[in-house]
Subunit: 212 residues, 2 copies
């Protein structure tokens, strides 16, 4: 298909498609004549991925380029590819100053994850996020340590197992990454919203005066 | 106890305690002499709540004042009180321009929540968040509608039921609110981090080459 048709199917402007071509995010089409090229379903998939990364993941062009480069690196396993996408999505603070309190919390988090038997990289952003939470909890007098995380870890394990299992096997690498990004970002927000609504519901069952 | 002891026990400065007194966030002590007052465990609880709302919830003074006013309004049920705290925690965008797409999504979300049998207010922020997610999903070609939310709703229901059940019954109103704020904000971050780590683990089981 021509670039105009590609843009129409991707629901973005031709100018934006050209911008992604210039930035190296979208692979070039097959040249069919002077100033003309032909695009196919792979290009459409890529545009859909870029859109998901931008609109849903809120990623900047530089981060998207890293994800795209990983997809094109055939030497990376799917697992490594998903790791690249996860790290691109991590926009948390990285400038925590070291302190014995934080060091202790980090050690506790690493032990906790090892105890779960989870195979995750030592630089996975989630380790730092859990460390921050543990420090915040201790500061307001919740000294339960990582034991406080246990019921959440069980729920997260069940949810992630189901989410990873439901990614279709036959999929392209770029689609697997899109699935991960969407599932990570959108369904994280969905779950948080549902949990707050469920809090309201269950607190009404527990605390509200029953109607007569 | 005197203000210096109160500050020490709350692990904040005397200047900060005085600031909260001036702002009306902390109730005054019992006057025991010129320029002297006595404080008790209720003041300490309040300071701990303010700290949780500020450091963990990231709330501004104005929002904290709304929560504190609700705590002091004995006419509010605990359930209403938790609703005030939840709305104070909602910092999402409120300026969405109306469109038929958004209106349809909102209707679908309201029907979905009604179908769950959840008793939540029509202005609960979670309804808007789910609406935004539904619109974002449709824009990247996921047209599954609210059926996509169903497994997450089941998990959220189980988690919230357990969280609300484990708030001790004998507690002060302010402690119940602190529990909710901490549980909502910190454990939301904890669960999100654990889910990402679990994604990495389960994707390694599914995609990584097995070691020989």
């Amino acid at each position: 298909m021509r670039i105009s048709e590609l843009a129409r199917q991707a629901e973005i402007s031709v100018a934006t498609v050209k911008y992604y071509l210039r930035e190296g995010l979208l692979q070039g089409g097959v040249v069919t004549g002077p100033n003309q090229a032909s695009y196919d379903a792979d290009h459409l998939h890529r545009l859909r991925l870029i859109r998901a990364l931008r609109e849903v993941g809120g990623l900047e062009i530089r981060a998207i380029r890293a994800v795209v480069a990983a997809i094109e690196d055939e030497g990376l396993s799917r697992h490594e590819l998903l790791g690249v996408a996860q790290r691109a999505l991590d926009t948390g603070p990285h400038d925590r100053s070291p302190s014995p309190e934080v060091d202790d919390a980090r050690r506790a988090v690493d032990e906790f994850i090892a105890g779960l038997g989870w195979n995750v990289a030592t630089d996975a952003p989630g380790r730092r996020e859990l460390t921050d939470a543990l420090v915040a909890l201790a500061r307001i007098g919740r000294h339960g340590g990582t034991a406080l995380f246990r019921p959440y870890a069980a729920a997260a394990d069940a949810m992630a197992a189901w989410e990873v299992r439901t990614i279709p096997t036959g999929e392209q690498r770029s689609e697997a990454v899109e699935q991960l990004v969407v599932s990570t970002v959108v369904f994280e927000a969905v779950f948080a919203a549902l949990r707050r609504l469920a809090h309201e519901h269950h607190s009404s069952l527990r605390y509200a005066p029953s109607p007569d």
